[in-house]
Symmetry: D2
Subunit: 479 residues, 4 copies
C-alpha cells in the first residue's frame, strides 16, 4: 500500500525514497522497524518484489519521497523516513515542509551534546522528542512540535501506531483517509494519511477530511484521536491558516483534492481567469490562433483558457503542439552544456503541422528561472508559427520560499533578475507577448474567492512566518 | 546522435536496445566495431556517459530498439543490432519487421551446416549475405534480401559505411535525413536513416525523403547511392506498396511524418471521421457530454473527435478525465493478479470532478485484448458518470500480423473472441455503447483518400504476402 | 595507504569495511569528511579505483574492518568507522574490542534524551564525547573513555588530526609506526597506527612501538603527543596489562609483531611445547608418522611441532596433507545442510598419496565448535590413514569472551558441551587421540615465560574486567 | 555438481566461467539448454543460489573455466561453453587446449560463408561438426576432430548425453570418474569427466581412468562407449603421446592425479632432484640455511628439497618465510605502476624473524617473465637475510607454447631475453645464486623415468605438432 502511495506521490519528490514498516515479533514481544531507503525513483529503489513482500512486512508503515535539487541531496543520511531508537522505543519520521528556526535549534541541541546524523532540519524534531520529559510518545512529539517553527506536514511511525501532524499555518496539504474493510468484514478498517488524495485513489481508500492546521492525530488500534498543538509562535485563534497557493498552481496533481477543493477545478479556473485578463484575439479571418499547453503540467489550465476564450468569441483552437517524452529518467545522459537547445529537444518535440503559420498561444503554469521556457520558445520558432504569445497562470515568482518549495536563489529567478519588467522578460524569452495572471485574479480564482489567507510569499514577499535571523531559504540543505 | 535517435524512437520498442559503431583504427589500418547492447530502456542500457562518449566512438553507427512481448525476448542473443565478422569484413544489422519465409530459410541454411546464434528471423539475412558469391558487401546483402520475404526496414553498418533497405511492399516506414554541416563549414554533411522523423528532430537533422519500397541505399564517403531490389516474390511494377495503416492509427509518434504525411494530421482526421460516423449527442440541456482521451496515445484523435462533434452542433466538451502516471517503468512491481483493477490504477487515475454525473465519451485508438479497456471502464465508473460511451478510431482487430506488429494470438483478441459482435464486446467492457471506425471510413481518412493500398490485414485478414506454410505470426519469436 | 592497510588486516574482520578521510577545503576553510563503507571484503567494497583516488582524498584517514558473525552484522548502521558532526566539529571512530558496561551506559544516555543510530557499543563513546563539558576534542574523548569499561583499541579522526587510544588492560594490540619521508625530503614524516604491524609492512612504514595500555595519542601537524587515561575502574599502578593470548594462538597474522613479540615465533614455540607435552611416537619401523597442518592458520605451529618431535628422535615427517581452496569467498554457494561433509570439501581436499597407510598427526591452533574439525577428520579418513591424532596448540575453549573475540555461546563450545572430558571430545571428532596444550605450558611458551598477565578468560573463566550485571558476551550485537 | 567441479578447477582459469545444462521438457518433448556464463571467478559468476538450483536444472551438464591473460579475454563471446543450435539439435562445447591449424580452418570456413561469433579457435570445431555430412552427432564431432590439429581435451553436451574427447597426443589431462549411486540404490550411476581428479574429490566421485589420447567417449543412458579418432595428422600407432610436463611442474593441483600419477608425488620428486643437483650447504656452524617456498604453488616441491638436503646431511631448515594474502581478488586495486615493489607487497609479506641473518634458499616451480621473482627477492632483502639462493624445479622457459599454456611472447621470457645465461638472470633477479633443474633430471623425475615422451617444447623448442605457417602461440587470442 505504502509503495503504491509513494508511487502516486512521485511528482512531489524524485530525489530519493524510503519506506519503514513496524512489525510485531510475537516471539520477542516487541516491534521491529523494517527499513528500505535509496536514491532514485520509487520504482528504482523498490525493484525487488521479494523485498517489498517479505522484508517490509508489518502492521503499519510510512513512506517518504525526497524532493531536493541541492548538493546535500547526495548525502544518503538525508533520505527519509528517519528512524531512531530512543528511550521510549522506535520512531520513524517523514516530513514535508521546512522549519524556519532550524539553525537556532541545531546550535542549541549541539551545545547540549546532541549529535546530528544528517544535515536535514527534520532531524531536530526527533532530538527534541527524545529529550522531552514526557513519558508518552505522542506528548513527546507534541513537546517537540511546540518548539519548532515553519512548515511541516508529518507522518510518524511508532511501535504502536501512527502519528500525523500539520503545522498551525497549514502550509502543506495533509489528508486523512480510510481503507474499506477487506472481504466484506466489518472489522479491520485501516486509516491512511497522505499529502494528496491521489494516493488514496490508487489503493482504493476513501478521503475523510484534511488534517487541520495545528492538529495532531494519533492512529492506533483504538482508532483515530485528535489533539491540538499549542504553539508559542502562532496565535491560532487570531490568525488564519496560510496554505501554499502554489500547490494549486503547479505542485499537486490535478486529480487530487487539497485544501478542500479539487486541484483540476482550481487549475481550470486559473486558465479561465487568465483568458479574461489576457486574451489573444485573432487579427482577422486569416489569423488562426491555436492554444497549446506545456504537457502535462499546464494541460488543465489550458483547457480552461480555451473554453473562456471561445466563450468570449475569440475563436481559438486547442492544439497539441508539443509532444513530451516520458522516457527521460534520472539516468538519461544529457547533451553537452553548449547545446541547451538540444537538451530541451530530448524532452519535447513540436508537432510542426499544428503550428506552422499559426498565431500560437502557449499556456504555462509558472516561470521560475526561465531557462526551459526560453528553449521551448526557440523550439517552437523552428516550427515557423506566425507569432508566439506566452501566458502564465500565476504572477511572477520573485521571492524565495522558506516553507518547502525548492525555488532557486533570488538572483536566478528571471522575474527578480528582470526587476518585474514583463517586457524585458518577454524579450529574454523571445516571445511576441507575455502576460502573467495578476495577484488579484489569482486570489479571486482560488477557493474562498479572495477571502482565504493563502501564502503567496513567492509572489508578494509577504512571509507569514519570519525565518530566524540566520535562516535562509536553502539553509536546511546548505549545512 | 544514435543514442538520442533511439531515445526518440523508444515507443517503437522497450524490450532491449543496442548501438554499434564503426571506428577506424589508423595504427591497425582496419575498422573496429564497438558494441553495447542490453535489456531495458535506452536510458537504462546506456547509463554510463563514459561508455557513450569513449567506448562508442567512430564515424558511423546504427542502433535498434527491440519490441517483443514473448518469452524469447529474454534471450540476450536476440538483442539487435546483430554483429558478425565474416569473409568480407564486419557487418551489423538492425531490422524492423518480420520475415514470412523464415522457417523455410532456417531449415535450408541449417541443413547446409549453418549455425544459428539467435532465434530471430533477422539472423537469416546475415547468413545469406555471408554465403553470397558476390564480392562486394552491398551486392551480398542485395543477394540476401532477394531471398527473403515479408516486412523489413533495415539499417546495416559496414566497415566503410551504411546500407539501408526497405522491403518491396514498404510495410514499415523508413526515412532518409541529413545533418546540417557543423560550424558553418560546407563539408561534413552526414546522412541519417530512421524509422520515424521524430528521430531527426531531436538531433536537428532535416527530413529529405522516405526510403522507397524496394529501395536499397548505400551511404558512404561519396554520399548516397540508390539501388532497386529485384525480388522473386513481388512484381514491383504491377503491385502497389502496402504500408501498415496501424502505424498511423497507433504505433508511430504523432510528431513524426511517415508514408508522406504527418501522423498527427491523420490521427486528427480519424477522430473527426469517428465523430461523423458515431457521434454521442446530448439528450437534453441537462445532459453534459464530456469527451476524454486515453492519454497520451489517443490525445490527438480525441481533439479531432471533439472538433467535429461541435461542428455538428453536438456541444460536447473536451475534458481531462484520466491522469496517467509516467513513472511506471520496467521495474515497477505490479499488484497481485487477483486485483486487476488495482493494476490499471497504478497507471491511470480519474479526475472525479470532471466526470461525475456526466455522459462520458472515451476515445481510444484501438482495442486489442480488451483487458485494459475493461479495467479503465471500471475505474471510470467509480467516478460516477451518467453513461460511458466507448469510441475507437480503428476497426476491430481480428487477425494476427505477420509483418512485425506484436499482436497476441487470435484467441486473445477480444474482437475475434466475440465473433465481431460489437454488442457483446460492449457488454464485456461494461460500456453503454461501443463504436468502432468502419473500414471504409478508415481508408477514406488515411492519406490517398481510399486510393492507397494500405495493409489492413489485422482488420480484414487480407494478407499482401502469404506466410510460408509453417510460418505463424509468432514464429520468429517462438522457435 | 589506508586501503592497503585494511587489506593487510582483512583477517581481523571480513564482514564489512570502511574508510573515512579528512580533507581540507581551502575555499570553505573547513574540513570535509569523505566516507565510503559497505558490507563485504576490502576488495569488494573498494572496487572503484576512481572512488579511492578521487573521492577519498585528504590529509588523514582511518579505516576499519568489521568482524562479526551475528545477525546484527546485517545492520548497515553498524559498519565502522562511525562518523558524526557535533558541536566541536567532525569525528570518525574505529573501534576494536568490546565494552563491558555498554548496556548501562546506553540506558543512562537514552534516559538523558540521546538517540542511538546503531546497536554497536562503540557509538556510546561518541555520545559521551559530545556531552563532555571540555572544549578540546582530545579532552572530550578522554572524558568519554574514562567512563567506559572493557576492551578498546581506538583510532579517531578529527578535523585536525588523529587520536589513538588503548584501554588500560591492553586487551587488543595497537601499534604506532612511521612512514619514511617521500622523495628523500626530510619534511613530511607521517605517522600510522594499526592493530598489527603487517599493515605497516604493506605500505613500507616502520614500526616504532606499541601504543601502551591506558595511553592516548594525539597525532597532528606538530607530531605525536602522549597522554594517560585516568580510569575509574582500573588501578593502573597496581594492576598489570592483560593482553589477549588468543591473538598469539590464532587471531593475529604470523608476520605481525604484537605485544612486543613476533607472532610466528610464539606460534612455533607453541608447536614445540605441544610436541614436548603430547608427542606421537612411531610404534615401530613400519609406522610412518606424518604431521600435517590445517592450512594456513596452523602452518607455523606445525613446523615447530615437527622440529621438536624430530629433536626428541621421534622421526616424524612434515607433509602437506590438506589443500585449501582460497577461492571460497563470501558469495560461495554452500551445499545443502544435509551434506556437511560436502561443505568441508569445498574448502579442503586431502592429498591421498601423502596420507594412505600413515599415522597422521594433525596440528590445529584451537577447537571452537568442533564442527569443522569433525568433518575434516571424516575427510582425512577417506584417504585411509592408519591412525589420526589430533593436537591443539591451545587449551580447551570453555568460556565466552567479553573483550571482542566472537566465540559462540557456551553451549556451542565443544569443550564446554563435553564437560572438559577430552576423551569424549576425541570420540566426537572421531580421532584416535586428542591432546590440547596445557594452560601452564601455554603461559610458559608465551613471551614473559609465565610472568606476564595475559587474559586467558576463554580457557580459564577468569575475567580481568567483570561485565556489568546485564551484559553478556554477545550483548553489543544482540540489542 | 558442475559448480563444485568448476570451483575445484578454478586454478586452471580465473578469467571467466560458465555452465550449460541439458533439461528435458516433457510437455515440449525436447531438450532445452540452460546457460549461465560470465566474466570472473566461479563464485562471482554463480552468486545466485536460485539460479544454480532453479535455472540450471537438467540431467546433464558441462562447465568451463576460461584461462587467458590477453586482451580478447574481454570479448564476452569467447566465454565457454559455446552453445549452438544446428540441424541435429543442441550442442555445447568446453575446450581445454589450443588448435594449431585454426587460422587455416577459419579462412576456409569463412570463404564458404561461415560466420564466426567469437575469436576463439574452439568455435571452428562446432562449424566443422555442423557442416559434416554424417547424421549422428557423435560422428559429426568425430568428423570435425579429424580435421583439427593441436591440443584439445573436450567436453561436449548433446541433447541426449555427453561426449568427451582428447587429442591424439594427449597434451592436456582428462579423466573419467563415476558417482556412487544415491541412497544405496543400484541404479542411477552417473559418469563424470574432468581435467583433474580434484574435481571428483569435491563431489565424492571415484576416478576410473584417464580418457586416452585419441579417444572419444560417448556417455548416455546406456553408459559409456569408447571410440578412436582417426587422425590425418598423427600416426597413432607409430607415435607416442606427448603429455604436457608443465602440468606436473606447476599447472595442476597437487591433490590431483593426472597422466597416471599423483601430482604432489611428482612435485616432491622434482624438489628432491633439485636438491641433488643444486644443494645449498651451510658454510660453517654459524651459517643457518633456511629453505622457504613461494606459497602455495611450490610448497610440495620445497618439502622434497628440504627432505633430500637433510638426507645429504646439509642440515637445512624448512621455514615459512613468506605469507601470502589470499584476499587479492580480481577487483583488487593495484598500486600505481611506478611502485612495483608495492605491488608484490599486496600479495606477499615476509616473516622477518625467520629470515634475518639467515642463508635463505627460495624454491619456486618456474620463472616466466621474472618480474614477480625479482620483486620477491627485493622484498626478501628487506628482511635482511645473509644470502639469497634461488632454486627452480624446472629448466628455463625459453619458447612459446602452442598447446594452451598462456606464456607471454618469447621476448618477455627472462630466460630467452638473457640468452640462457643463468648468471645474467641471477644478476637481474638480484640473488646470490640461481639454479634451474636440468632437462635430464626433469625427465628422470617425471613418471616413466625418462622413458616417457612428454611435451617439453617450452624448455626445448621441440614441438610435437608444428603449427600452421601463419599460426603463432597467441593466434587464437589475437584475432
Amino acid at each position: 500500500m505504502t509503495y503504491y502511495g509513494l508511487h502516486a506521490l512521485q511528482h512531489r519528490g524524485q530525489e530519493a525514497t524510503g519506506i519503514v514498516t513496524s512489525e510485531y515479533l510475537p516471539e520477542k514481544k516487541r516491534y521491529r522497524f523494517n527499513i528500505h531507503k535509496g536514491v532514485g525513483l520509487v520504482s528504482d529503489v523498490f525493484r525487488d518484489e521479494k523485498l517489498l513482500k517479505k522484508a517490509l512486512q508489518g502492521t503499519a508503515a510510512i513512506g517518504h519521497n525526497r524532493y531536493s535539487t541541492t548538493g546535500s541531496s547526495q548525502n544518503e543520511a538525508n533520505i527519509q523516513p528517519f528512524t531512531v531508537n530512543y528511550k521510549a522505543g522506535n520512531l520513524a519520521l517523514g516530513h514535508n515542509g521546512n522549519l524556519t528556526n532550524f539553525r537556532t535549534l541545531r546550535t542549541q541541541l549541539q551545545n547540549d551534546g546532541t549529535i546530528f546524523q544528517s544535515t536535514s532540519d527534520s532531524e531536530a524534531i526527533l532530538h527534541l522528542a527524545a529529550r522531552s520529559k514526557e513519558t508518552e510518545q505522542v506528548l513527546q512529539i507534541k513537546d517537540a512540535l511546540e518548539k519548532v517553527r515553519g512548515a511541516y506536514s508529518l507522518v510518524i511511525l511508532t511501535d504502536g501506531g501512527l502519528i500525523a501532524a500539520r503545522d498551525p499555518y497549514g502550509f502543506r496539504p495533509l489528508a486523512l483517509g480510510k481503507l474499506p474493510p477487506k472481504d466484506g468484514t466489518q472489522t479491520g478498517d485501516a486509516y491512511v494519511v497522505a499529502s494528496e488524495t491521489c494516493a488514496f485513489d490508487i489503493i482504493g481508500a476513501t478521503y475523510i477530511r484534511d488534517v487541520a492546521p495545528g492538529e495532531i492525530l494519533v492512529i492506533d488500534q483504538q482508532g483515530v484521536m485528535s489533539g491540538e498543538l499549542k504553539s508559542l509562535w502562532v496565535n491560532l485563534k487570531a490568525d488564519k491558516p496560510h496554505p501554499c497557493i502554489f500547490e494549486y498552481i503547479y505542485f499537486s496533481r490535478p486529480d487530487s483534492r487539497i485544501f478542500g477543493e479539487n486541484v483540476d477545478k482550481v487549475r481550470r479556473k486559473l486558465g479561465k481567469s487568465l483568458a479574461e485578463e489576457s486574451p489573444v484575439k485573432p487579427k482577422g479571418d486569416d489569423d488562426k490562433v491555436v492554444v497549446i499547453s506545456v504537457p502535462d503540467s499546464s494541460n488543465t489550465a489550458t483547457l480552461g483558457y480555451v473554453t473562456e476564450s471561445n466563450k468570449q468569441g475569440d475563436n481559438v483552437k486547442l492544439e497539441i503542439g508539443l509532444i513530451r517524452s516520458h522516457y527521460v529518467g534520472r539516468t538519461f545522459i544529457q547533451p553537452d552544456q553548449n547545446s541547451r537547445e538540444f537538451k530541451v529537444k530530448t524532452k519535447f518535440n513540436t508537432v510542426k503541422g499544428a503550428l506552422k503559420g499559426k498565431t500560437v498561444v502557449i499556456v504555462d503554469d509558472s516561470i521560475v528561472r526561465g531557462t526551459t521556457s526560453k528553449q521551448l520558445v526557440k523550439l517552437l520558432r523552428e516550427a515557423e508559427p506566425k507569432e508566439i504569445h506566452f501566458r502564465v497562470t500565476s504572477p511572477p515568482i520573485k521571492y524565495p520560499c522558506y516553507y518547502g518549495m525548492d525555488f532557486p536563489s533570488s538572483q536566478e529567478l528571471i522575474a527578480n533578475r528582470c526587476g518585474s519588467d514583463v517586457g524585458k522578460i518577454a524579450e529574454e524569452l523571445g516571445v511576441d507577448t507575455l502576460e502573467y495572471l495578476s495577484m488579484e485574479k489569482l486570489l479571486e480564482s482560488a477557493p474562498g474567492n479572495g477571502s482565504a489567507s493563502y501564502c503567496t510569499a513567492c509572489f508578494s514577499g509577504k512571509y507569514p512566518v519570519q525565518p530566524d535571523g540566520k535562516e535562509t531559504a536553502k539553509d536546511a540543505n546548505d549545512l
